[in-house]
């Protein structure tokens, strides 16, 4: 068991947004975390990363309880988040973006290194010297994805990675995630609204509604089920 959430509740101020979230993720597994807008998906990922205090329950990573572990140390243990919307350093060039993140997160024997980024997204190679913030929305999202996957974390939390990407890239990117998971045993939690694309690579589907898990099963079970009215 790589990541285990047990009865987690979290929220903002006095408001509890997610509650009783229990979830177990094995190494190499891709879990699609789906749900309507405002269901609490982002909140769940924030809780896992330690960006939000838990109100109840516990999270364990690799068998270690995460309660007293700060964000940076969770990242060091192998958790990584692709955040919603602001996943790049806009004032640095593309190359500097990659370099800075690689310096702290790519070990000597890590697999997905600087060169792989430019292989995955050739357009970034062309734009190495461009200020990242001046690229188009989609190009920025490619860079954000690259930063998140640099150094192959053990568990990658992806918050709507396909936003702003043209269809060809969505597919390429998902395949890449899939491939890295398969070859390196990276686990991924994939929050997506592009349900079809997510189901295509997911091993498991978890569906949230109003802050609670209402479905947990295989993609096929999900397709056959009646949970879709929640969206």
């Amino acid at each position: 068991m790589l990541l285990q959430l047990t009865g987690v509740a979290a929220g903002y101020g006095s408001k509890i947004v997610i509650s009783d979230i229990s979830l177990a993720i094995h190494p190499g597994q891709i879990v699609a975390l789906l749900g309507h807008n405002g269901a609490g998906k982002t909140t769940t990922l924030r809780g896992i990363m330690g960006l939000l205090p838990l109100r109840a329950g516990s999270i364990a990573f690799d068998g270690k309880a995460l309660e007293r572990i700060g964000v940076a140390d969770r990242v060091a243990m192998g958790l990584r988040l692709l955040p919603e919307g602001r996943g790049i350093f806009p004032d640095l060039t593309v190359a500097e973006n990659v370099e800075v993140v690689a310096a702290r997160n790519v070990g000597p024997d890590a697999t997905f290194g600087v060169a792989d980024v430019y292989k995955l997204f050739p357009v970034l190679d062309e734009r190495r010297a461009t200020r990242a913030g001046s690229m188009s929305g989609g190009q920025q999202q490619m860079l954000a994805m690259s930063l998140a996957i640099l150094g192959t974390p053990r568990c990658l939390l992806l918050d709507e990675p396909s936003i702003g990407l043209a269809p060809n890239l969505v597919e390429r990117m998902f395949q890449q995630v899939h491939q890295v998971c398969r070859s390196h045993g990276m686990a991924a939690v994939l929050v997506e609204q592009n349900v079809a694309a997510a189901l295509a690579i997911a091993d498991r589907v978890v569906i949230m509604n109003n802050g609670q898990i209402v479905f947990d099963g295989s993609p096929d079970e999900a397709r056959a089920s009646n949970v879709w009215h929640y969206f």
Partner: protein, 287 residues
């Protein structure tokens, strides 16, 4: 040939001011904090060096110890004050006011310890004069230029060539992402304020060596440096340095055409006009 001496004097003053500006620029661009307490650190450097020098310490040792102490004080301000404020989600305006409070504390600790009198360094070699053609410079002035330019070059190299420098700029650009990619923004902030404080200790000692120490004397240089930083384009070290030199030269040369009582007002008014034509500063990168 008055203009030549004025120009050279402007360059000397400007070089020292430029170092204040780059140190402030480094801090401001990264932390977004209007760190006015920096003026206190600047002043503190001079007084510390003075204390040691007047107790017979070698001049170089006094300078180095002053730099070291300022580094610590800077780090403490960030770690004990600004970081706490950030955790309480204070706005920039609030942090500015807290920084004003910190400035008041430092200045008045100095005033209470050393009195408000202008103090002079017991450094006889400093006022020795060298003549270059019609230009006359003291040793202190020469030293100021040399060390300031070195500090500028060093900072440039640090920010753009070292990985720590790039990490600092990354944190400045997106602190949230920095947090989740293990760049540890809070640690970087402490480092940055510490480095900035170390840098500012240099002019903090050199300028009083020439012009004397006053407990409330750090504010004017800091304000001028701040203006230089902004006019140069926030985030640009070269911009901050060049504009600081520009202000000082302009202030010196302006005396040739306008009376001194108007020179400060007019100099900065020229900057107002300048800002209207370059609204994002001289060296700012296109957004």
């Amino acid at each position: 040939m008055v203009w030549l001496q004025l120009l050279v004097n402007g360059l000397v003053t400007g070089a020292a001011l430029g170092v204040v500006a780059i140190s402030f620029a480094l801090i401001y661009a990264t932390t977004k904090i209007f760190h006015v307490a920096h003026a206190g650190v600047y002043t503190l450097a001079g007084y510390l060096a003075w204390s040691l020098a007047s107790r017979g310490m070698p001049d170089l040792v006094s300078l180095l110890v002053a730099i070291l102490c300022c580094t610590v004080v800077g780090a403490l301000i960030q770690h004990q004050l600004y970081a706490r404020l950030e955790r309480r989600r204070a706005t920039h305006l609030v942090v500015l006011i807290a920084s004003l409070g910190a400035l008041a504390v430092i200045q008045n600790v100095i005033a209470a310890t050393y009195s408000s009198n202008i103090l002079q360094f017991p450094v006889p070699w400093g006022s020795r004069v060298e003549t270059f053609g019609s230009v006359r410079l003291t040793w202190t002035q020469i030293l100021t230029v040399v060390l300031s330019v070195a500090a500028y070059a060093g900072t440039m190299w640090f920010a753009h060539r070292t990985i720590l420098g790039k990490q600092i700029r990354a944190v400045a650009s997106n602190p949230f992402l920095a947090e989740i990619t293990r760049l540890r923004p809070q640690r970087i902030y402490v480092i940055v304020v510490a480095i900035g404080s170390a840098i500012v200790a240099l002019p903090g000692v050199l300028v009083p060596l020439d012009l004397g120490l006053q407990p409330y004397g750090g504010v004017t240089p800091l304000l001028t440096a701040t203006i230089a930083m902004i006019a140069g384009g926030v985030g640009s070290i070269t911009g901050a340095f060049v504009l600081a030199v520009g202000i000082a030269v302009l202030q010196n040369l302006s005396l040739l055409v306008i009376p001194g009582e108007w020179s400060i007002g007019v100099t900065f008014f020229i900057f107002v006009i300048f800002m209207l034509f370059r609204p994002t500063g001289l060296f700012a990168k296109a957004r």
